[in-house]
């Protein structure tokens, strides 16, 4: 058996940054002028997210999320919306890949400044059961971008 989690690991997971985004989520609510709306669920734990995205040219000019779930899924969604607002779909694709690598343990922990506050989630990589929670919002964003892509 893998050893039980240590308090240090738990502490690294629940950083103040994460709890702050969980308690006071940014960009939560609805967008009147959304170009794409995606609903996504994590059937394993019942986390739900609805993501609304507005585009301007090739950029995500605004986005909002709503839903309910654990602190990891909610904080990840909140931080993601802050990070990607105003960025081009290409930049977002790159960030998504970087964040995914971070979560799956394929990247050195949190040394890429481009991920901004999302680096606070690097502790999640040590908790395989929680990685999906952190990625839920990003799957929703990916799906929103795909919905938009053909047009």
């Amino acid at each position: 058996m893998s050893p039980p989690r240590t308090s240090a690991e738990i502490g690294a997971l629940y950083q103040e940054m994460i709890l702050d985004h969980y308690r006071r989520p940014r960009n939560k609510g609805n967008l009147d002028n959304a170009d794409a709306t995606v609903e996504m669920k994590n059937p394993l734990c019942g986390d739900e997210i609805s993501l609304q995205v507005a585009f301007e040219g090739d950029c995500v000019c605004d986005l909002r999320f709503s839903g309910r779930g654990c602190s990891i899924s909610q904080a990840s969604a909140s931080m993601m919306t802050q990070l990607v607002k105003g960025k081009s779909t290409e930049e977002i694709g790159l960030l998504r890949q970087q964040f995914r690598d971070l979560m799956l343990g394929n990247a050195p922990p949190a040394d890429d400044a481009r991920l901004g506050s999302l680096r606070a989630l690097s502790g999640v990589a040590r908790f395989p059961a929680r990685v999906k929670c952190a990625l839920l919002a990003w799957y929703a964003l990916e799906s929103a971008l795909a919905e938009r892509a053909p047009g």
Partner: protein, 420 residues
């Protein structure tokens, strides 16, 4: 089937069975507080020894060889069936079909009996308390057959609403499926009342999901009144991948095979095949003999404790947990009062999501389940996406509740609880 149980029958104090030492995984992890036995139980050494003993002394393909080793394997397999049937109060052990577990047992009934007997316009009834394994097979069957799929509602405290059930039942009802004990809430359902209602108003088959009852209190299929009862070995100290379906002989004999292949046939011609007798008709392919032997050792172990004591032990722990968790501000416990529950406490905390709670408890060596417990229709009715669930079994004691409570307090601390 030897057992090396070291149950302290006389010296027990209150709700301490003192058998933790029989469970190698728990011995190897002294700080572990395993409170997820409703998902799967830990295994005593007696079961692990029985598995090894089978492979080291009797391993061959049962029902096949003319040589004595195969005959020995057949005997082990047969004796296991008889022992498990005895444990579950089945006088006709040929009516106990080995399956992979409860899920396969229920799918067997839906796929065989349902396929042959449900027609357009018929009705199939399940309850909102059912595990997906006793919900989805019937839903799929009803959709395929053009039958009406009806879901019995619950009382606010999570019991089957018998009045509602009565209103659902009529002469078109072909199946009434329900669980003996809810895996999500621990509700012990009144089987006798359900049987009486259903027999009065329908000619339906009654299918009971016993995954959470067979491990926890005495069950006697012959007097339960249902037509089919499915159970899982791994939740009752046995190995994973073995369980059973018990059915009434006349029904099993009338049913078409579920899977076809080796062992389940009598004669195979180019243009037709005849079926083997019960139980073999429903056990296509090489049987899971070793795990059947392991499960027989598990029921032997449980009988040595005594199922009445297993039940009273779990209830004592569950009541203690109920009292201590109930005293925590902002903690909500779901389900009926403890006297109508098995050893399960399902709850939410106002400030900490169940998944976060489970992760933090993991840091304290406490294993609980967080999620929808394979009962999404129930969760929707409770209007929660998930609950935290602690479930008790023979190896638990009060120290596990201490660890649970202190872990919950730690989660509060991390999340900075502010009383409303």
């Amino acid at each position: 089937m030897a057992t090396n149980s070291k149950v302290r029958r006389e010296s027990e104090l209150g709700s301490v069975l003192g058998i933790r030492a029989d469970f190698p995984l728990l011995v190897n992890n002294p700080g572990l507080h395993y409170l997820d036995s409703a998902a799967t139980s830990q295994k005593p050494k007696a079961v692990l020894d029985a598995l090894r003993d089978f492979y080291e002394t009797a391993n061959a393909n049962p029902h096949r060889g003319a040589y004595s080793l195969s005959v020995l394997a057949t005997e082990y397999y047969h004796d296991s069936r008889v022992r498990i049937a005895q444990f579950l109060g089945v006088s006709d052990s040929d009516c106990l079909i080995f399956t992979r577990g409860t899920t396969e047992g229920l799918n067997l009934v839906a796929g065989s009996w349902g396929e042959a007997n449900v027609s357009p316009g018929d009705e199939v009834v399940v309850t909102a308390l059912d595990h997906h394994a006793n919900f989805v097979p019937w839903q799929v069957l009803a959709m395929k057959k053009g039958a009406k799929f009806r879901v019995c509602e619950l009382t606010p405290d999570g019991r089957i609403d018998l009045e509602f059930l009565s209103g659902l039942l009529n002469n078109r009802t072909k199946v009434v499926a329900f669980n003996h004990v809810s895996n999500a809430l621990g509700t012990i359902n009144p089987v006798a009342d359900i049987v009486r209602l259903a027999r009065e108003k329908t000619n339906a088959i009654l299918v009971c999901d016993g995954a959470q009852s067979a491990p926890h209190f005495p069950v006697a299929f012959d007097s339960l009144g249902v037509d089919f009862y499915a159970f899982s070995g791994h939740k009752m100290l046995g190995p994973m991948g073995i369980g059973g379906l018990i059915g009434k002989r006349e029904m099993l004999e009338a049913m078409p095979p579920y899977q076809t292949g080796g062992d389940m046939i009598e004669f195979v011609y180019d243009d037709r095949t005849t079926w083997n007798a019960l139980p073999h008709k429903f056990e296509a392919g090489t049987p899971n003999a070793a795990n059947a032997v392991g499960l027989a050792a598990a029921v032997e172990y449980l009988d040595n404790i005594g199922m009445d004591r297993v039940h009273s032990h779990e209830r004592a722990l569950m009541s203690a947990a109920q009292t201590r968790l109930g005293a925590i501000e902002g903690l909500h416990i779901y389900g009926p009062p403890p006297r109508e529950r098995s050893g399960v406490v399902s709850f939410t905390l106002v400030d900490v999501h169940p998944h976060d709670l489970a992760t933090i408890l993991d840091g304290e060596g406490v294993c609980i389940r967080a999620g929808h417990h394979c009962a999404q229709p129930l969760m929707r009715r409770l209007d929660v996406p998930a609950t935290a669930r602690a479930s008790f079994y023979v190896y638990n004691d009060e120290s596990d509740i201490d660890a649970l409570v202190s872990g919950i307090m730690k989660a509060r601390e991390i999340f900075g609880y502010v009383p409303a």
